[in-house]
Symmetry: C2
Subunit: 433 residues, 2 copies
């Protein structure tokens, strides 16, 4: 009976796994050097936790199920609710600011498409306890620190930045009601993916007043933070948000990533919990979905029963990133092939036992070693050594029984040398220290 994998999931054969490890190890390394500590939560949580404060889109994509006690559970589609839950649980003992990162496996019941899978990995970093826009600048820097390290330049990617706080202030000042904001965010977030006509049609449904509609459409044309004032008169709150955005761009310049960053008032983010600065990272050609995005979510901890505490962070998935890196030729040569330090071969069956004894000793000393399971000719064993990319072969034969010596064959040059057994292991142990 042959059973296929579920559509939208991936099998990681060793070469795929090596690539996944390379990606994730990079995320981890950059997180640590940016001062973040790793955490993780369970892959399933109570269903209601995800329904509480995520966007509608994510709630629709939940894989939910019941345990035997009838509790309603769901696979995590994102880790931010878990982060809020965990931080709240230990809020009094955690040193602040809390700078945490995670690389959760996430599951969403989506229709699988290119760059959109039902199971994927996502790099998350978050700073909790800092309300200064400096923290927003830091998370954007951290994302770009990684993206630059893997070879992406301002010719390849762009970070589009806006502020939901500013957008809210402007929308309120032109007469949109408080409770109309959230559905309007959702629509504005989809704007670039809808056609212009469809967008206007849907906007008409949500905003009946023609004058307000016109102002929104105009506002969407602002190309810089400075231009905002040209389209609408700014309230005090709106001015503060504009100032904050300007300071963000200054800070991004100081830390050397300004050439990756642009203002884009069309960036709103789908998730319901964002409150201030929001950003999305795209390939420059806008060929693919967002590589990642994030922003400020100052109310989330409180909504999860915790204190009033500012927070900002981002998530970058592996699927779109991998597609982009491959397209840019940045994955060629980066992932190391399987490598073996030693292949232990023997000239005659009588040396087989000695061979596996030495193989075991090699492994204990930290060297990656293999051997042939079947007693075959030496030349067949050496072929296996080559097939497994062994750097060296150790040949066990008369030299060992007569003089306690190993024959070491360099598989690249073909050169052979003799070395006394104890001397060999003494050198190996001192190397691995």
């Amino acid at each position: 009976m042959k059973i296929p994998p579920v559509k939208g999931t991936r099998d990681f054969y060793p070469p795929d796994m090596a690539l996944r490890n390379w990606l994730i190890d990079g995320w981890k390394r950059v997180s640590v050097r940016n001062g973040f500590e790793e955490y993780d939560g369970p892959i399933f949580e109570y269903l209601k936790m995800f329904q509480l404060k995520s966007g509608d889109e994510i709630v629709e994509q939940l894989f939910s199920f019941e345990d035997r006690g009838g509790r309603k559970l769901a696979l995590r589609p994102e880790i931010t609710p878990t982060l809020a839950r965990m931080v709240n649980q230990q809020i009094n003992s955690l040193p602040r600011p809390i700078k945490w990162f995670s690389v959760p496996r996430l599951c969403r019941a989506e229709r699988p498409q290119r760059g959109r899978l039902r199971e994927f990995f996502q790099w998350n970093i978050d700073i909790i306890g800092v309300d200064d826009v400096l923290a927003d600048a830091e998370v954007i820097f951290c994302a770009l620190d990684y993206l630059q390290e893997v070879g992406l330049t301002p010719d390849d990617i762009v970070v589009k930045i806006s502020s939901r706080e500013m957008l809210a202030a402007i929308l309120l000042s032109i007469g949109i009601a408080e409770d109309e904001l959230e559905p309007l965010y959702a629509l504005l977030d989809k704007r670039s993916r809808l056609g212009e006509d469809t967008f206007e049609e849907m906007l008409t449904k949500q905003v009946s007043d023609e004058n307000r509609r016109k102002k929104i459409l105009e506002l969407m044309n602002a190309e810089s933070v400075e231009q905002i004032g040209d389209f609408v008169e700014l309230s005090e709150t709106a001015k503060e948000s504009v100032d904050e955005l300007q300071r963000l761009f200054e800070l991004l310049d100081v830390v050397g990533v300004a050439d990756f960053c642009v203002f884009d008032i069309g960036v709103v983010r789908g998730l319901a919990y964002y409150t201030g600065i929001v950003f999305e990272i795209y390939d420059k050609a806008s060929q693919f979905r967002a590589i990642g995005g994030g922003g400020r979510f100052d109310d989330l901890l409180k909504q999860f029963g915790g204190p009033d505490m500012p927070a900002t962070g981002f998530g970058i998935g592996d699927s779109v990133l991998e597609i982009l890196l491959r397209e840019k030729g940045l994955l060629d040569m980066v992932v190391p092939q399987k490598q073996l330090d030693y292949f232990v071969a023997f000239t005659d069956k009588q040396f087989f036992q000695k061979a596996i004894e030495i193989m075991a000793k090699l492994r204990r000393s930290g060297a990656a070693a293999n051997f042939a399971y079947k007693s075959t000719t030496l030349s067949k064993q050496l072929k296996q050594a080559s097939a497994q990319n062994a750097q060296k072969s150790i040949i066990i034969g008369r030299e060992l029984s007569d003089n306690n010596e190993l024959v070491i064959k360099d598989m690249a040059t073909g050169e052979q040398e003799l070395i006394e057994l104890n001397k060999f292991f003494a050198e190996l142990e001192s190397e691995s220290k």
Copy 2:
């Protein structure tokens, strides 16, 4: 609104995560030096895949759910079925023998108990394509290579080894019918957990013939492979299995792990797919559940629609292992604390911008660096540096604006030195190469 985590799952706060990473990194390192390559599959598969050939116990513990297309899916309770599926899919292109390892996150709908969680990590290694008992010896060696590396000795743990093939041959030879074998395995597997009386009572239900029952009870007293023949007359097949077990013990002696290994006819394994050598690893005091176990499953690939191909492997979970290591005091001091290379401080607000510029440059150069978000006094900043375990602090002040020099303070000794900015970064870059 406060939402708790689901019972039987774990939150990994940074110290817990550091421990999990230490455990898993060890598994990975030892796997690689033993010649294994890493793979992984999806966390959910078709429900029927797990129902196909696992033991009843595992099937009862499935978390199952439906996707929006009504497909019946389940969270993986083990990875071996996925391994069989993946190997079968690429059977013609994979070089053999296939030596693969994985560290899957697994989910089981169990009643949570000490050492038994509803979500855990399991180290799996498997060798596919080798029928020689040498492969069984190798997987046992690999498990012990790791367990020894973390400090466990023959005083702490024991590998109990038997052969299901041998058990089958003996049971058949004393008159047990072929279709009675599987339920009998399940009962024998539970023997050590049941009381003697309960076991005999349940055995009576399964084996009505008193003579056969007596023989089974006698057989369970065999203390060595050699003794088996004293209890029952061995058929040809049984003799072959006994010889194979003896060869296994010889090989375990050659690779230097014999003092960890004993014969134990009571080891049967709960999973339905085992066919030959089986083993379980326990703490010597039998205080806890099995740390791990494994064995040969020569029929599984075929049952999953693939070729007739021998296979052997093991799984070791993280829960019991962690409890044991903690009890033995082997977790003290092993997990590194959060470490920061540099904390960037400034003497006056006017140097703040320069400070974050240097912080960004440090991170780009690969050094883990942090800074204070709020402009406070230098002494408060240095307190933060200590709280974050920074090895050194870099103090930005007049020295930089006047002479382009950094003040570097060693946080352990308190010593300070001056170094020219460009020289400092040139040295840092050359160190990281």
